[in-house]
Structure formats: structure tokens, C-alpha cells
Amino acid sequence: MKYRSDIVIILDILDAIGEDGALISHIATYANMPNPRVKEKLDVMIENGLVTEEIDKSGRKIYRLTEKGLETREKLRETVYMLKQLGLIPRDSYKP
């Protein structure tokens, strides 16, 4: 499997959640990662205040981006863009 930078993985997860929030299964499919690994990353993001979790009417857990999460996504997009330009990560490693 192709090596993926941690920054790209985190950015993929933030993109998957988006403005509307997402279920863990959707995030895992989008980020191409197994559920337990996504859960691990999400727990760290919740701890850092980037993501919140809430239960919807049907009892499912929805993850949403906080204001800090939205700002971070923007900064990470800029960072990844720079790293791609510098040739420090592969050009196909992140497609917004």
C-alpha cells in the first residue's frame, strides 16, 4: 500500500466530516481506513477540540467539525498544497 502522510490522513478525515457532519462508516470509506483506526484519530481530534460527537434521533453517533476544526482544515489544505509544491509529498496523495 502507498505511504500516506499523517497530515493527509487527518485532512482526509476533516474533509469527510465536512460542514454537515458524518458517520464513522462514511469517514472510514472516504479516508480509506479501517473503522478502529479512524476512531483512534477521531478521539485525538475530539481531545484537541477539532471535532465533536453527537447522537442523532435514530441513536447514531455523528461527528461534526468545530470552528477550530474548520480553521485547521483550511490551514492543513494550505500546508498540503505547499508540501506538494515542494515535492515533499506525492502529487496524487491528496485530492480535495
Binding site: 497530515i7 490551514k75 492543513l76 494550505e78 500546508t79 498544497y81 508540501l83 515542494l86 515533499l88
Partner: protein, 227 residues
């Protein structure tokens, strides 16, 4: 001769100020991203920029001191300390480039991991320096070693750029030119054209980092357009 030295010290200070502003600006983006992601790749880039900023600060600090107390030094001392400031700058710059290189995702998979070997010539030169007049020899051999290391490191960065980066955007190409300028200035510095090569080197570094700053601005516009 005194005038040339003072002139070089003063212009180095001017270029150093611009360099410092540009480096700090680009560094802030990587630092913000590192604080939230704790990604090892960004940690190495953060270290690289700390070294770049420290190299500029050390060069400026020594040059400021020299410009204030220029009259108290003999011409030989002025020359030695000015060259020493450039050597220290160059060694820290080489270390910064090294951290930039190991931050590449490619280093997780192939031979870039062996780049620390590049620093061996530098260390052996420093050992030679210990036998003679330490400051003078450190200034001469440290400079040759760091110039050579920077040329090799910049060549690898250039190769990474050609392998990995997106060719359709303008700023990436300009960064490519920036790397070539860094390499070219170090090649010139290996020739017996000091002190002019020192000035040229700092100006070329300044141009390369300005290109990096413009790339950051391009990234901001690109991200804003995407929204």
C-alpha cells in the same frame, strides 16, 4: 578593504531582515499545522525552519555587533569574524535543509535516509580544524564542507521536486529556480571570490525564500477559491 567589509556587513543586515520576515511567515503556517496534527513530517519541517531562522539570527547578531564596534577591530579580525558569521550561517542552513529532506515521505521508503552520511565530510574537516588556529580553520574548512553539503542536499530536493510536485502550477516552478539559485551561490562560494560570494549567497537565499513566501500566498488563494 575596511569599507568593503562594512558595506558587506550592512547589506547582509538588510537582506537578513527581509529573510527573517519571510522565514518567520512561512514557519508560522507549518507550526500552526504541527500543533494540531503532531505529524512527524511537520515536526521535521518545523525543526528545519527553526534552524533557518536561527542561522539568519546568528548571522545578523554577529554582523550587528561588528557594525557597531567596527572601529575597535583590526582589518584581519573584521574579516575573520565576518567570514565566521557566514560559516555558522551556512552550517545551520545545511542542517535546516537536511531536516527538510528527511521530512519527505519518500524518506520513509528509500535512500534519503542515508543523507546523514553527507555530514561526515563536514565533521572530518572540523577535526582538522582542531589542530590549527581553530577559528580560522573552522571558518575555511567549515565553509567548504557546508557549501558542498548544501549543493548535494539541494540536488536531492530538486530531484524530489521533479519526481513529486505538480508541474502545472507556477510557484512550484519558481521554487525549483530558488533551489538552483541556492546551489549556484554555494558553487560560486567555493571559488576564490570572497567576500563578494558571501553577499551573493545571502541575496540568493533571500530570493529563494521570497519564492517560498509567494508559494504560501498562492496556497492561500488556491484554498480560498476551493471553498
Amino acid at each position: 578593504m575596511v569599507e568593503i567589509n562594512i558595506w558587506i556587513i550592512t547589506t547582509s543586515l538588510g537582506a537578513g531582515t527581509i529573510l527573517l520576515y519571510v522565514q518567520a511567515n512561512v514557519f508560522s503556517l507549518f507550526l500552526k499545522s504541527y500543533k494540531v496534527t503532531r505529524a512527524p513530517q511537520l515536526k521535521n519541517i518545523t525543526y528545519a525552519f527553526i534552524l533557518f531562522i536561527s542561522s539568519t539570527l546568528s548571522m545578523m547578531a554577529i554582523n550587528t555587533y561588528l557594525s557597531i564596534f567596527a572601529t575597535q577591530f583590526s582589518i584581519e579580525e573584521l574579516l575573520l569574524y565576518r567570514e565566521l558569521s557566514t560559516t555558522i550561517y551556512n552550517i545551520m542552513f545545511a542542517l535546516g535543509l537536511f531536516f527538510l529532506l528527511i521530512s519527505s515521505t519518500k524518506s520513509a521508503t528509500d535512500s534519503i535516509l542515508y543523507t546523514p552520511l553527507l555530514l561526515i565530510p563536514g565533521t572530518s574537516h572540523l577535526q582538522i580544524a582542531m589542530d590549527g588556529n581553530i577559528l580560522e580553520l573552522f571558518s575555511v574548512y567549515g565553509r567548504i564542507a557546508s557549501d558542498t553539503v548544501i549543493i548535494v542536499e539541494a540536488s536531492i530536493l530538486l530531484a524530489l521536486y521533479l519526481t513529486y510536485s505538480e508541474k502545472e502550477v507556477i510557484m512550484g516552478k519558481l521554487w525549483n529556480i530558488g533551489i538552483i539559485l541556492i546551489m549556484f551561490s554555494r558553487a560560486i562560494d567555493l571559488l576564490p571570490v570572497k567576500p563578494y560570494s558571501e553577499m551573493f549567497m545571502i541575496f540568493m537565499d533571500m530570493v529563494a525564500f521570497i519564492l517560498l513566501y509567494l508559494m504560501k500566498k498562492e496556497a492561500e488563494i488556491f484554498t480560498r477559491e476551493e471553498r
